[in-house]
Symmetry: C2
Subunit: 441 residues, 2 copies
């Protein structure tokens, strides 16, 4: 018998690779932080002698969820301004609050709140875009969650950097610092076509090519963005990014509503990645991303919550549900975007978007043991004719009872192991008092 660290015996295992079908009475074997085997439980018990055995007799085990687009620290601004369109929301509320409050401390506390919420709801990896990515990387690494820290670039100054050059040089420094880190990777993160000019984008593109680093950007979020780009550059944002060499397999294009045939063709030809943020797109009335069509064209489409200020939570289970529901609307077909499609988007496709497709996103031997366990024995998820369908269409995030990242158990029976929930909430309330009382509000 082989000695291993952990054996999880589950009622169902949904490996995502090779497919999203639930395997009855299967077990996951973990050693050295990685999945080393997936077998029927009866067989696994004969093969392995585990230091820790975890029995989950009415639960589904699946890969951890990958939140492919968020602004973690913005959780401190959750609910500050709702029911407003993107530009009013940004210019009238979010940007003023950010320019008043964003600091290393704000980002540390906001990111910790976000990570606590994400781990509690089964997210094991997130792609972030925010100021002070050094703080984001440090916080994630300390708390044990996997992160792709976005090296943000903007034309205008912030508390983090004064110029596009400084954003980029600070970003490069961070990239170097985390080159070999087991949990932290980085991506270039130009904010959006309307906030970054051609020159920094060109420089960033060269760096991204040299370092083989993903480029994470808001793209085609609203009709207004496209109108502005046509006015200023005579090009749609995708055309402009194509001219700048940015439409490539390294691109993670976030939002992607308002797509014309030429936009689609450009993305398909380059094999770029798309990150769908359905709840944010709906809440800001930005538009619909044609997800079923993109998937059919072979595009890798991932799923993200966006920041909590425009969602207003970081709940990837809820986001899968919304994606499946509005995917059917966008395609005008109840068969479009099935439960299995969105489960893959929320796991493997997310990992691939971040360049981590060989490391996480599915439960296959050799990958990191980034896994979650969902209790389906609840009033809202019984009977269980199909566990995948129950997870996507009926489960709530509070049914996530265990979370492992790289084999480390970060949520155990519903309790966060490395976080003091009470302390996180206390710090959150301190920020709320400050921000609520400020005249900018």
């Amino acid at each position: 018998m082989e000695t291993i660290d952990t054996l999880i015996n589950a009622r169902w295992v949904i490996p995502v690779e090779p497919d999203c079908e639930a395997k009855d009475h299967h077990s996951i074997a973990i050693k050295g932080g990685r999945v080393i085997g997936l077998f029927p439980t009866s067989e696994a018990k004969q093969r392995y002698e585990a230091e820790e055995v975890i029995d989950r007799p009415r639960h589904a085990v699946m890969p951890g969820l990958v939140n492919a687009h968020t602004h973690a620290a913005m959780s401190l601004l959750r609910g500050l301004a709702d029911d407003l369109p993107l530009m009013n929301w940004l210019k009238g509320h979010i940007w003023p609050a950010e320019s008043r409050w964003v600091s290393a401390e704000f980002v540390a506390d906001g990111t910790e709140l976000a990570i606590a919420e994400m781990l509690r709801g089964g997210t094991t990896c997130f792609s972030d875009m925010y100021f002070f990515p050094d703080v984001v990387a440090r916080t994630a690494s300390r708390l044990g969650i996997r992160v792709c820290a976005g090296l943000i670039v903007l034309d205008f100054p912030s508390a983090w950097a004064d110029s596009p050059d400084e954003y980029l040089s600070k970003g490069l420094e961070l990239h170097d610092e985390y080159k070999a880190h087991p949990l932290v990777t980085t991506a270039f993160a130009p904010h959006a076509p309307y906030t970054v000019g051609d020159q920094p984008l060109e420089r960033l593109r060269k760096l991204s090519d040299e370092l083989d680093a993903p480029v994470h950007v808001h793209l085609h979020e609203t009709a207004e963005e496209i109108r502005q780009s046509q006015e200023r550059y005579g090009e749609r944002p995708i055309e402009r990014f194509h001219r700048l060499g940015l439409i490539s397999p390294l691109l993670a294009a976030v939002h992607m509503t308002q797509l014309e045939e030429a936009d689609l063709a450009s993305i398909v030809e380059a094999r770029s990645n798309v990150v769908h943020c359905p709840e944010s797109n709906l809440k800001l009335a930005s538009g619909l991303c044609p997800v079923a069509r993109l998937l059919k064209a072979g595009i890798n489409v991932a799923l993200g919550t966006d920041g909590a200020a425009s969602n207003n939570d970081l709940d990837m289970i809820g986001e899968m549900r919304t994606a499946a529901l509005i995917g059917k609307l966008a395609a005008d077909s109840a068969e479009a975007l099935s439960a299995r499609d969105v489960l893959r988007m929320a796991t493997l496709n997310g990992a691939r978007t971040l360049g981590l497709g060989e490391e996480t996103g599915s439960l296959v031997p050799g990958k990191w043991a980034d896994a979650i366990c969902i209790d389906l024995a609840r009033l809202n998820t019984e009977p269980v004719y199909d566990p995948v369908s129950q997870i996507v269409y009926a489960a709530s995030r509070d049914q996530v009872v265990d979370v492992w990242v790289g084999g480390h158990r970060l949520l155990a029976d519903g309790v966060l192991e490395r976080l003091d929930e009470g302390a996180v909430l206390e710090r959150t309330r301190s920020w709320q008092r400050l921000i609520s009382e400020s005249p900018e509000r």
Copy 2:
């Protein structure tokens, strides 16, 4: 000081009437099952001597949620067949399963499962449409939840009745039995334009007028329904119902997608009620109900989950979120269908649709004490700049910690008082085994 039964001291009270603004540090006084006062906590403590005092220092208290359209017993078929359009789903899966399995026992067990899920998630009143409404009424009454039992009518026979006349006569019997019941009311419930002919609809309309009873019907659910009606009757379903005298203030028209100007005008003129079921409409790709437009025209629009087989849960908090999000999409405006709009739809508008507008749906003196308490001190709902926004856009149903119906506490600190959750799940699994193994599946 006045002696009362219960005093709930909350961080916020959201009364819904006169408005949906949260009142800081307010208390609800309950006596004889009814709300008798709503005051600032400091004042309430001086006015009342309560047998039971409940302090909820980081919680919002609001009216119980009213699920204005469901088929409770269908919870036993939750997840049986997903990602299919309405007619395939009905004819290929749901109707065959129902004709094989529906019985008084099926309805008793399925309704109990549904009520357990609904109470757990803050629903205090539901409008049902299913076979064996006598069993639905009895189960709801035993478990203490408020129900409007739909007296179903169909052209085709079922385990409950053989002919439209039998459906109606059994329905009338039930109506009489519950005439003065504190928890149970009834409504006529012709299934849909495509399943009930003119003759039974005419008889039903006369009875509804005589008894002043609501008429609860699926109407304009899909484009196909409209096409069929035009083919068979030469009229759109709303035109046909208008000809039959059914477009009236007693009408609760469920779904209402595919509305043309004349349809809208007819509904507005008659002051009929509309029940919006966004998740079911999305899941079956039925279409979008123009909710913001209906509200603007003065229509009373309520909210329902539909049955768990097409949703797949009975979560009214999630349904509010989906309604707000797709309401913005349908209206192409982020300002359309605010958090406050959907909160009112999910409470007061629901009560009005069932003819219970003077009895429940808001926390005003004289109404039944149908109230719920939501814990907002969670990782996903802090900070709290605006409690209404947090409830609609960020809270989960598991944050509902207390539920009262008519002053009786049915959920206390997250525990169902009159239900054995384990026994409910055991019976659910027995049905699952039977249904899974049947050749019809």
